[in-house]
Symmetry: C2
Subunit: 123 residues, 2 copies
């Protein structure tokens, strides 16, 4: 498929896909005229990249890990990187769960005070 189709299929912009290629994260075959063509599994790859970005992992680190994610194998150095990111992800989850509890308690309190007619901010 061409880049536009991959973009709509994944919900990622064309610009972003070109950027991924620039970073070495997403390969493409080129037609005679230079247009990019992607295999069907490219969408999965894009989702994987997005997932890592969402975890705050940089392009360079993703580049390091990607082949190992695909093949399921890793050198000791890459394994260390993977474990580092793993613990970072665990920390992030814990922080977000704390944030969630915080938000829940505020929401619960707010709903109650709204029931009793005491909104905030006043006005």
């Amino acid at each position: 498929m061409r880049i536009g189709e991959l973009a709509t299929k994944t919900g990622v912009s064309v610009r972003a896909l070109r950027y991924y290629e620039e970073q070495g994260l997403l390969a493409s075959e080129r037609s005679e005229s230079g247009q990019r063509h992607y295999p069907d599994n490219a969408a999965g790859r894009v989702h994987l990249i997005q997932q890592f970005y969402a975890a705050g992992i940089s392009s360079a680190s993703i580049l390091e890990m990607l082949p190992c994610v695909v093949t399921g194998e890793a050198s000791p150095q890459v394994l260390a990187t993977l474990r580092g990111h793993r613990s970072s992800v665990v920390r992030q989850i814990e922080e977000l769960q704390a944030t969630l509890r915080q938000l829940d308690s505020v929401i619960a309190g707010a709903v109650k005070s709204h029931d009793s007619g005491v909104p905030c901010p006043p006005g």
Copy 2:
């Protein structure tokens, strides 16, 4: 306490604390000469701000929510904002958990293949 002490106490840079004030997130009293002075509970406030930033919430949104987090009350509009952020946080947690599973499976596979002497990348 002055800004430097608050910075070391919270692990947040002096620059960041000034930025929080600039955004209206963190108040301070000023001495005769213009230096900032913070009450003891400022550290807790800073941690709260950091927590929200970590959840991908913008300064403007934090500014909207903060008084309600403190007082435990919220107007209907703010309540909607809170709920929006809540579901965003839930999504983030789910995504991170998926990422965690992904990393774990790669790590498990990598450890196994390393045991059997097949590292990746080769070399």
